[in-house]
Symmetry: C2
Subunit: 141 residues, 2 copies
C-alpha cells in the first residue's frame, strides 16, 4: 500500500500549519495574501468528486470554516476558492482572501506574479492568529 505524500511543489511553497482527520492545512508562503490550502490525505486523488460523499461533505465543512476565518481574521473583502490542479494534479483546494488593494485584484492570484515569502515574524503572527481562531474546532495546530 502506498502512503500519502504531499506533492513536492506544494511542500516547497507552503508551511504545514494544521491537520484534520481528512485534510492537511497549509499556509501558502506568500505574505501578500491570507492564503491557505486544504489537501485531503489520500493517495492518487485529482478531483473533488473522487472523494466519498462523506469526505466531500467534510471537505466542504472545513472549507467553509476556513473561508469564514480568513475573511474575519484578516478583514478581507472576498474569498477566492479554487481547485485547479493543472500544474500540481494532487487534489488541493486554494482559499485566498482578497482585498481590492492586493496586487492581483481583481484578477486571480494564480499565475499572477512571484510570491513574496513571509518574514519569520510575520509567518509566526499569521499562524498564531489562525491557531487561536474557530479553526481549532476542526484542525490540530
Amino acid at each position: 500500500m502506498t502512503s500519502f505524500l504531499l506533492d513536492s511543489r506544494l511542500e516547497a511553497d507552503t508551511f504545514r500549519i494544521g491537520e484534520s482527520a481528512l485534510n492537511l492545512l497549509l499556509l501558502m508562503n506568500d505574505s501578500r495574501y491570507p492564503w491557505c490550502i486544504l489537501v485531503p490525505k489520500q493517495v492518487g486523488l485529482r478531483e473533488i468528486y473522487e472523494l466519498s460523499s462523506k469526505d466531500q461533505s467534510t471537505l466542504l465543512t472545513e472549507s467553509s470554516v476556513l473561508a469564514k476565518t480568513l475573511m474575519s481574521t484578516f478583514s478581507q473583502e472576498k474569498m477566492n476558492i479554487g481547485a485547479l490542479g493543472n500544474v500540481v494534479s494532487q487534489l488541493h483546494v486554494h482559499h485566498v482572501a482578497r482585498h481590492q488593494n492586493d496586487p492581483a485584484w481583481p484578477g486571480p492570484v494564480w499565475g499572477h506574479s512571484q510570491a513574496e515569502p513571509y518574514s519569520s515574524d510575520n509567518q509566526e503572527k499569521t499562524v498564531k492568529a489562525l491557531s487561536q481562531s474557530a479553526l481549532t474546532d476542526y484542525f490540530t495546530f
Copy 2:
C-alpha cells in the same frame, strides 16, 4: 421582498441551459472550453459559507455531478472549479473542463483572453450533449 436576478454580466456572457431547485445552470459563451457555472438563486449571496448547510451540501452534490459530466462528455483531462467573484460579486461557481491543448493551459482561464463565442450549431450540440447526460437527474433543461 427582492426577488433573485442574475447579474447582468453573467447574463450577457452565458446561456441559461438548466435549473435545479437551488441553482441556475449556465453555459459560458466561450467555445474553447466546456465551461458551466452554477448560481444559487438567492438574493445577496457572495460566499459559499453564506448558504445554509443544507444548501451548501446540495451545491456540492450538483457541483460534483457537473464536474464529472463535463470531464466524461467532452473527454477532458482536469477540472478547474472556482468561486472567485472579484468582478461579479454574486455567488457563482465556475466549472471549467481543461485539456493540455487548450489556449490557457496550464494557467487559469479567468482573465486569460477574450472568449470565442459559440456558433449556433456548436452551442446547440453542446447543450444537447449536456441535456442527455446524468445532469438530467438534477437539472431541468
